[in-house]
Symmetry: C2
Subunit: 408 residues, 2 copies
Amino acid sequence: MQTLWAERFAQRTQRMKSSAVRELLKLTELPDIISFAGGLPAPEVFPTARFAEAYQAVMDKVGAKALQYSTTEGYSPLRDLIAQHSTRYGIRIEPDNVLITNGSQQALDLIGKVFLNPGDHILVERPTYLGALQAWNAYQAEYITADTDGDGYVVESVKTQMRSGPKFIYALPNFQNPSGVTMSLERRHALIDVADHYGVPILEDDPYGQLRYEDEHLPSLVTLDSQFRSTDGAQYSGNVIYLSTFSKTLAPGIRLGWIIAPVEVIQRLVQAKQGADLHSGTLNQMLAYEVASGGFLDQHVKHIRAVYRERRDTMLAALDAHFPEGVTWTRPKGGLFLWLTFPPHMDATEVLKAAVAEKVAFVPGTSFHADGGGRNTARLNFSNATPEHIDEGVKRLARCLKQLLATP
Amino acid sequence: MQTLWAERFAQRTQRMKSSAVRELLKLTELPDIISFAGGLPAPEVFPTARFAEAYQAVMDKVGAKALQYSTTEGYSPLRDLIAQHSTRYGIRIEPDNVLITNGSQQALDLIGKVFLNPGDHILVERPTYLGALQAWNAYQAEYITADTDGDGYVVESVKTQMRSGPKFIYALPNFQNPSGVTMSLERRHALIDVADHYGVPILEDDPYGQLRYEDEHLPSLVTLDSQFRSTDGAQYSGNVIYLSTFSKTLAPGIRLGWIIAPVEVIQRLVQAKQGADLHSGTLNQMLAYEVASGGFLDQHVKHIRAVYRERRDTMLAALDAHFPEGVTWTRPKGGLFLWLTFPPHMDATEVLKAAVAEKVAFVPGTSFHADGGGRNTARLNFSNATPEHIDEGVKRLARCLKQLLATP
């Protein structure tokens, strides 16, 4: 018997599918399984000692204020710190351009809340970040997809899709989740150009930008947009909203991300956040500030890079050594993920079933395709397993694949 | 010059007004002002020492796990604790009936996300909680209001409004924000009856239920609904969703509230929360569990009651002693607020202007009226000022009122 509440959501014309990643994460809790499925940072790199000192410092400095309500915009010193960190990449960001969110997932949700009407189109990469689709499905968004290759968005494909009149372009230029691909500098310039030409703004999602393991940092879209407008020395007020997070550089359990946007946009997002949850945790923001300040953040990121670089290298070496012909993969320059492409006739969900029997897990690629494609693709995470487990897990997966390829 | 992003929100057909409370909170930051405007708990009652012990305990027990991603539903021991606390009021709640949210403001937002289509009607009290209206305005809800008196919802008025087909009935039965009114037991029974008769579910918001300063605890609507269905010993699966929070009993800065609902409803809300922010802070949930467990919560609530009872009594005594004839007020049995009614010709916003000049602040009542009424009403908070300040603040306000009443 349905309750009246259950009848009420049956009346709601929405699409909220249970997440494949979510269901799979349950599998990864089984003992003995080596999971490349999640997107978890390695808990070994969390700066727990620094957090303990920060807790003490916060309590000594502000005491009960750390447990009180605080402003929707976020803790001022933390907004300052983020603005300063952003400024060093050659763009003038003031604290008023920064809104603190509960992880960048809430940033995606607030963007949906402020900008989307039911049926609005969003241009996304093929493949794209699953969590963004989950956030915007709640606002009954529709998606149009553009092709990507080893350099990110294929600009000709983006142009073609402009005819559908997207509300905005969603882009993950650095070490994309799920593909691991980085958008080249040329493509970044071209995307800014196209967006300006068609009058469509860009949402840049950059959770992994600091986690680069080779080559030089590339300027973000928000920086390029600022240069494009050549508003020398003026506060940022362009056509790119930029999202990032402390989840991959400090810790995800404190749920702190941020939005950088023109002031008038921030003001609207603040109103939306006020209705959504009043503000982000006061204690968590003060802790993050104490942990990150005094140069610790940069120093700690270097440590994380070293740990994850080794894991990425281990995974790539194991794939090179053990994987059968016909399977290909990306070679990410940073981030947490790489992307497998199986032969066209293979279904990644079938591979997963076999893999779980062999005690190894990953995420099939369809979840990351807004257009339902990607049946023969898969995402592997390399941040959350030790090098030994990565090597062993890849061997297990290679065995599965060889067996499946040998079966007619 | 508008950015493309600003043009985009201009296209969005939404109503998000800047909050009057929000703007007023800025005034309360002025030096020397005695503010009855906010809804802040007294920081003096925050158990900071217990939090410090809890931080140590969490780190000793789970270490880095406290900083990692965690499940959307919430930290299991905390869901257990909430289920057990709820069960003692004579209703069977299992942990599966509990979803942890970022304060109960997020609970209101998730309810909107899962249940509301643009233009849906919600039945609210006149006056009602401003934050609920802010949460649901984002989903383009419409409101219908029913009359209230000193015993809460006037049931005949609720019946009349059922013709407008509300999606649900929103009720704050205990020491309502803003009015301080408590719904009588008879009215609670009658509301359950009417809701069942018309097939409209109830959303019960109960942030202050534990903060009663006189008389006995009254059963919540969710408990009465369970008895009404007389599903003896069965897990709760009725027509009331119940919301509460740790913001008033532990501390608001950790942003932890919860939803109690039938399991199938919780599952839908979990999907919505996953898209909204993945999960609530891991560390905060573990801290709250450590702080609240072992009987501390009940013991601490007794302390808060004693502190706030004195403040309420001080405010009522000062109103009795100093306020001019023609102004009336409620005598709340708990909570944080009482409600003023000025003579019909007075505008509370004009009173506020005069009051701020006298260095005292409150919130005009119109913000709490979904139908735009309440021009001559106001909310006073008594939890966030010391008894001395309360007495002085009421004297200042009385001076203003006498002056305004003397002016023809």
